[in-house]
């Protein structure tokens, strides 16, 4: 597609439920990033993928969070047993890295998650 697409745009879930957030990066972009932005806070790094592998998972807040990327394209961020403190905007970005190319990260519009 023309840009990074995230779905859903908004998600309201009950505490304890699992949620899946989806990111479609720009076609051909090799790197994919997930960040979390809480009200009044900066961008908290969660995880990034180079291809389908995640070199650094240290940003995931707890073992309730997991992410995968398949086919070097779509990524899913899963939060199990959601808690109220998980409420935030989850941002996805992608960039082209490798083969002598390197670009900035392009961001999606985010998924606003509210846990009630």
């Amino acid at each position: 597609g023309a840009g990074v697409s995230q779905s859903p745009s908004n998600k309201v879930t009950e505490k304890g439920k699992d949620v899946e957030l989806r990111c479609d990066p720009i076609s051909g972009h090799t790197a994919l990033y997930w960040y979390r932005q809480s009200l009044g806070q900066g961008l908290e790094f969660l995880i990034y993928f180079q291809g389908n592998s995640a070199p650094d998972k240290s940003g995931l807040p707890s073992d309730r969070f997991s992410a995968e990327r398949t086919g070097g394209s779509v990524s899913t961020l899963t939060i199990q047993r959601t808690q109220q403190e998980d409420s935030a905007v989850y941002l996805c970005a992608s960039s082209l890295v490798g083969q002598g190319l390197n670009t900035e990260a392009f961001f999606g519009q985010g998924t606003r998650l509210t846990v009630v």
Partner: protein, 111 residues
């Protein structure tokens, strides 16, 4: 992993004042540097970027930034701010694929 520090949490200026937002990073290797802006209700967009070459880079809307390698800094500047520059500004550092952001600086420009 590298870390990024932005010195100012909230900056308030009057229109036509000059702006400088500080950004320092911790990694000593070859990095790419960026400033992003987030206007109220909008998603992040790129202001400017540095990959190599001239350490003084110019971006959109009259913004510029200077990379000072010896100081591990990449400060953002604008000679004369406008009310429409009210937004949150994020510095970012990219090492190969890994990309980290600072905590952000909220800029409020009073008309």
């Amino acid at each position: 992993a590298q870390s990024v520090s932005q010195h100012n949490h909230h900056v308030i200026l009057s229109e036509a004042a000059s702006l400088e937002l500080g950004c320092n990073y911790s990694y000593g290797g070859t990095v790419n540097l960026f400033w992003y802006v987030q206007y109220p209700g909008q998603h992040l967009q790129l202001l400017l970027k540095y990959f190599s070459g001239d350490p003084l880079v110019k971006g959109i809307k009259g913004f510029e930034a200077e990379f000072i390698k010896s100081k591990f800094s990449f400060n953002l500047r604008k000679p004369s701010v406008q009310w429409s520059d009210t937004a949150e500004y994020f510095c970012a550092v990219k090492l190969v694929g890994d990309m980290r952001f600072g905590a952000g600086t909220r800029l409020t420009v009073k008309p």
